[in-house]
Every structure is written in structure tokens, then in C-alpha cells.
Symmetry: C2
Subunit: 147 residues, 2 copies
């Protein structure tokens, strides 16, 4: 799936930005992970970029529609590749350890959510309303540790 990099490069150029090695490293890290990664994890460690570069480049990539900031209850943010570079999905969050997994739900539920969401949002005077469904529970290993 090296095609991703071609798409990323195109989108960056569209907003007048370059696809530098640092940015490619971030995209690669997110692609390999497959799940949303905590921002601090991208900064330290051996392959770690300087934190100022991490934050600056994630902001650029987000603005170009390449990555997406994932908000959980943790004290830091997580990032993942934008949905149109992967596929539409939702997040299954462990309320104990904070781990985030990607999941998909049946298409008929997606359809009825999309329909309802835009109706409800429009009624409240909001426009361009999209939805975000998170599943929040306790993962297997946290259940076991709790015994």
C-alpha cells in the first residue's frame, strides 16, 4: 500500500506543503500501527522525532486532511490516518487502560445514524454535521487484572 504516500504527497501539495522525510516517517508510523497512537509515543524512543517536529507536522498533516486527531479521556491526544486513507470505522476504548481499537459496525446502522444525525443537527441550526460513535468498555486484560 505504498499508494498511500502518493496520495499524501498530492494532498500536501494541494495546500502548498512538502512531503518531507519527517512527515513521511509520521505517516509510516501511523500506517504501521493501524490504531490511534498517543502523540508522546511518536516523540520519544529511538525512531522518535523531536517533539516540536511531531506537533508541528501533525498539525500540517491534519490540516491537509491526512491524519485525524482522536480525542479520548486521556491527558494526551492520539492520531490516526484519515478515514479516506483507511476505511470508515469507530473506536472501541478501554475505560481502564485507555487502549483504542478500530471497529466497524453494520452498514445499515451506519445509514440510519447518518440519516438521523443530519436531521437532528439541522433542527438545532448546525450544518455539515457528521457523527462519531465510540464504544466504551473494559478490555479483556483489564478485566482479568481487576480480580
Amino acid at each position: 500500500m505504498i499508494e498511500i504516500h502518493r496520495i499524501v504527497e498530492t494532498r500536501l501539495q494541494a495546500v502548498g506543503q512538502r512531503y518531507t522525510p519527517k512527515r513521511r516517517a509520521l505517516v509510516e508510523a501511523l500506517r504501521r500501527a493501524g490504531n490511534p497512537i498517543p502523540t508522546p509515543d511518536l516523540a520519544d524512543g529511538r525512531r522518535g522525532l523531536p517533539q516540536s517536529s511531531v506537533y508541528r507536522n501533525l498539525a500540517v498533516l491534519e490540516q491537509a486532511g491526512i491524519v485525524h486527531r482522536v480525542v479520548t479521556g486521556e491527558e494526551f491526544a492520539r492520531y490516526e490516518l484519515a478515514e479516506d486513507l483507511t476505511k470508515h470505522h469507530h473506536h472501541l476504548v478501554c475505560k481502564t487502560c485507555g487502549k483504542v481499537e478500530d471497529v466497524t459496525v453494520p452498514p445499515d446502522l451506519e445509514r440510519s445514524m447518518a440519516r438521523t444525525v443530519s436531521a437532528v443537527g439541522g433542527r438545532a441550526g448546525f450544518s455539515g454535521v457528521s457523527h462519531q460513535l465510540d464504544l466504551i468498555g473494559t478490555c479483556r486484560s483489564c478485566v482479568q487484572n481487576d480480580r
Copy 2:
């Protein structure tokens, strides 16, 4: 709806905590607002409690199941009364100004979400899975300011 305070007191006692004036003030502020309030807003201003008290007491109230922490993309958290003190609802978030409004969706959508969510979560080894649906769009006044 002063009954709320009776319920709150009971729940606090259940976890060995007192219903002090500060805690009552927080519950009152959340009840009056009706929408999730940013934590910093509870801390300053005239009726503002000292910030250390705000954070400490919100933690106690959350643990007693009286308030609920609402996570948005902003750099601070918001709190609201727990759903069983109000009623089940979702959040309509303005992606531009961060404003949060409560909304409800049709019961049949709620039912199918609940059903799907526990099935999908169980398949991934998660237990006690609940859901959280957020609607994200642009509110009327932000659309106007953008012109």
C-alpha cells in the same frame, strides 16, 4: 427539582462522602447550565470556587456517579450531571467554537445502537460496553462569522 440534591446526598453517603456546600454549589451550577460546562469556567468568576476545590470535588462527584466528564477536542474538559439525574442524550459539538449542546435521537436508533454496540464490543473481548454518539458540525453563529 430539588429532589436531585436528595439523590446526590444519598449517593455520596454510599461512598462515604459528605454533601458539603462546595459540592452542592457545583451540582447547582451544572444543573442550572443544562449543558456541559468547561472546568475552568467553574473555577473563576464571582461564584467561582478555588480551582483546587473544583477539581477535587468534581473527582469525588464523578466517582460517586453524580457527574460525568465530557471529552471534546478542546484543551480542557467539561462536566455535566450524570445521565440518570437528567436523561439519556448525546452531544452536538460545534467544531469551530467548541460549544456543546444536548440532543436526543429517536428511540429506535438508540435501540439498534445499543444492540450493535454490545455485540461488536463482545466480539473484540470487551465487556460492559456502552456507547457515546457525538454529532460534530458547525453552529449557526460560526457559519455566519465565517462569511
